[in-house]
Amino acid sequence: MQDLLIALGNIFEPDSLFVLIIGTLAGMVIGSLPGLSSTMGVALVIPITFSMSPENSLILLGAVYVSSVYGGSITAILLRTPGTDASIATALDGYPLAQQGRGAEAVGMATIASLIGGIFSTILLIAVAPPLSRIALSFGPVDYAVLAVFGMVTIIGVVSSNPIKGAVSAAAGLLLATIGMDNFTATQRFTFGESSLFDGVPLLPALIGLFSISQAIALSVPKSASILSETADISHGRPYPSVELIRKCLRTIMKSSIIGSAIGVLPGAGTSIAAFISYNEARRSSKTPENFGKGEIEGVAASEAANNAVTGGTLVPTLTLGIPGNAVTAVFVGGLTIHGMAPGPRLFTDFADVTYTLILSLFLANLMFAIIGLGVGRYLVYVTRIPGSVLGPLVLAFSFIGTYALRNNLFDVGLALCFGILGYFMERRNYPAAPLVIALILGPIFEVNFRRAMQISSWDLTIFFDRPLTIFLMVLVVAAVALPVWQHRKAKRAIAESIGNESATEKS
């Protein structure tokens, strides 16, 4: 308690508040720029923290982390260019809303959902950090393998009205995921001697290509360039979502906050998976699921509440055990270590005041980005007024700079361009890009964990039926496949019946 009071004193120091504001702004900008990921943002500011006090450097890292996850939503909604992979699901409904002239409203909803999700997960972090991290540890390689399958099955069902096209896209992602050095045998697979591919197809260039460059190409092609100029008429839209609308989405936001926090605690699964699972859940429980993908604001709320709820969740195992849940928190561990703070239980004993300063700064950073987002986010809708001929090259330039900056590697830029062309044609043929990207992330997680499980059990497949947790996860997978099929059948039967009734009436 005393530590909490010290932390409270720390955070309201003028220099700490200054760092917090700078961090929040920087995070929002980094997050909203395609190609600059949260991981990259946090990694970029670590060198700056060298000369700071431990308190201030953690405030900076925390602020950049949470606000960059939020920042991705603005461009996802207004430009269909998710600033980070966390906001891929946000674009599904956010962009159609922007096209309908409700961009400002969608950004407002995203901000409120992000705020609630972020605050919820921070409360969770401060309240139940140690017990929750023990749940995360009980996930072994077998469980991760099943979880990866669950993620892929869910995503295929989520993003496309045509599951076959979704599955084709995911299959392409899985194939691409086989490229790279096999760490189990130290052999190269499909790299053709290109050292930049030894670690597999780099995710961010693929992401930037599929989501940003494809968009830049679309903007530069005459006719399709008008996609954005059509959306430019936002003056009629509401600047903020109505209280009634927020109240309507509150259930979804709370549910997504819980899902996001829970997924955040699990190592490996990150913001994008949480967003997709919550999005799918929102659609499943909606009275009007057919509106999803066409501009349902509840979809934006679900995705954004979930991805920001992940932030607090990922810090649970990071801070309590020193086990980072994802790439961003892995960088966090580096940031902590630089200041001589060993991640682990000692953070809550020896360095409790610093650790609580970090947690409190997450609260403030969430409030800060919400204030800035609600204040300025509305005006950010005007970026859609920029003609395609300006915006296209601008997106292209940012994409190239971002891609190059990731590894200082020109090969990646070419790769991003290839993915951009692929993404452009996929979109024209109505193949969703998200399953490809998700499969690119989850494919290796599945492969590696499946092989680990087999190494542990000496190729005994019964390891999948050894523990209740694994069986529970497999039931989830079966449900994720069966539910949409069942719903589809039910809908079909309903249609068939109504047609039957109609023809019956016609005859009479």
């Binding site: 072994g140 189990f184 195992p317 055990l321 060993a342 590894r407 200082n408």
Partner: protein, 324 residues
């Protein structure tokens, strides 16, 4: 601005640029910021060390040393970049032993050759550690060996990639102990220690700096450290030799330069590095990170890596660690 004035200012600028460009012949090296290639991502142990080192050497030589992360392929991307970099003294890099020497033994299409890179100085030597979770029944190496003998092919030991120092140490240990265990490949120690604490694997093979904090806070129990003497960071952990298992293994991190670098610049860097390594503040910072400073300078470091390569080459020819 008219065309003439534009032309005039352009010539003026050109003249200034030329005079500046001509200066290096007289000025002291380094004249401008030096790039330090780190073949791993930001925030990792090599990166952390490099960033601390760059601050000290930069202050010493009066120029910024800028860390550039060129990660990928277990170091190969960065080392290939270092091997191909211009040998003008403005690109140096970090190398990691034994990965640096072992790649060329396993594959003949490695992007760099050891001959293209001249080792400068070894900074840190991080010994191998075998550890179990705090609630594991094994207290000593003998406990573990006994259990493995009773249940051949049942216990699992993690390592971080085939052919890396962890894998080689684990192979050496199980070979000398005469036990048969399942090796489980992980990509990093974070996942492996999580699996260890969750009870999914029985033992973890990694480097000391990666788990020293967890050993200290009691969430992980080290059975042995693969060094000839006990380490300051984990004084209660016995060596393998103390327990009758003659296994020595470590990961080393040092600096290197492109092979063609002039001796003059090489020596400037070597002396500056010596100054950094002898600096008490620098040593204190690395001690805080549980990274043992083991300096090996210049030609000795070259010899050290060559010896290592020969040992690995013999081992490979006798008993390849990767099935072919």
């Amino acid at each position: 601005m008219t065309v003439t004035t534009l032309f005039k200012s352009a010539t003026a600028t050109a003249a200034i640029t030329l005079s500046v460009a001509a200066a290096p012949a007289l000025a002291e090296y380094p004249e401008r910021p030096v790039t330090m290639i780190v073949a791993w991502g930001a925030g990792g142990s090599t990166d952390t060390m490099a960033r601390i080192f760059s601050d000290y050497i930069g202050e010493d030589l009066g120029q910024r040393f800028v860390v550039e992360n060129r990660e990928g392929a277990g170091g190969e991307v960065g080392w290939t970049a270092l091997a191909n970099a211009e040998a003008d003294g403005y690109t140096i890099g970090l190398i990691n032993s034994p990965s640096f020497e072992s790649k060329g033994i396993v594959r003949d299409d490695v992007g760099y050759s050891m001959e293209d890179i001249r080792p400068l100085v070894n900074v840190v030597t991080d010994p191998g550690v075998i550890a179990v979770s705090a609630d594991s029944p094994y207290e000593t190496l003998d406990d573990f060996v006994e259990a493995a003998k009773e249940n051949p092919g049942e216990l699992s030991v993690s390592h971080e990639g085939v052919g890396g120092d962890d894998h080689l140490a684990a192979l050496d240990f199980t070979d000398k102990a005469g036990i048969d265990v399942n090796f489980v490949t992980f990509d990093g120690n974070a996942e492996a220690t999580a699996a260890l604490q969750g009870g999914h694997i029985d033992a973890f093979e990694g480097n000391m700096s990666e788990v020293a904090n967890q050993i200290e806070n009691g969430s992980v129990r080290a059975l042995a450290v693969w060094s000839s003497e006990r380490m300051d960071a984990i004084p209660d952990v016995p060596t393998g030799q103390e327990q009758g298992y003659d296994v020595i293994s470590a990961a080393s991190r040092g600096l290197a330069v492109p092979a063609e670098l002039s001796d003059e610049q090489y020596n400037t860097l070597l002396e500056a590095a010596r100054g950094v390594i002898e600096n008490e503040e620098f040593r204190a910072e690395l001690a805080e990170l549980n990274m043992p400073v083991v300096p090996i300078y210049g030609e000795d470091f070259v010899q050290f890596l060559e010896n290592n390569r020969d040992t690995l080459q013999n081992l490979w020819e006798k008993d390849p660690w990767i099935e072919q």
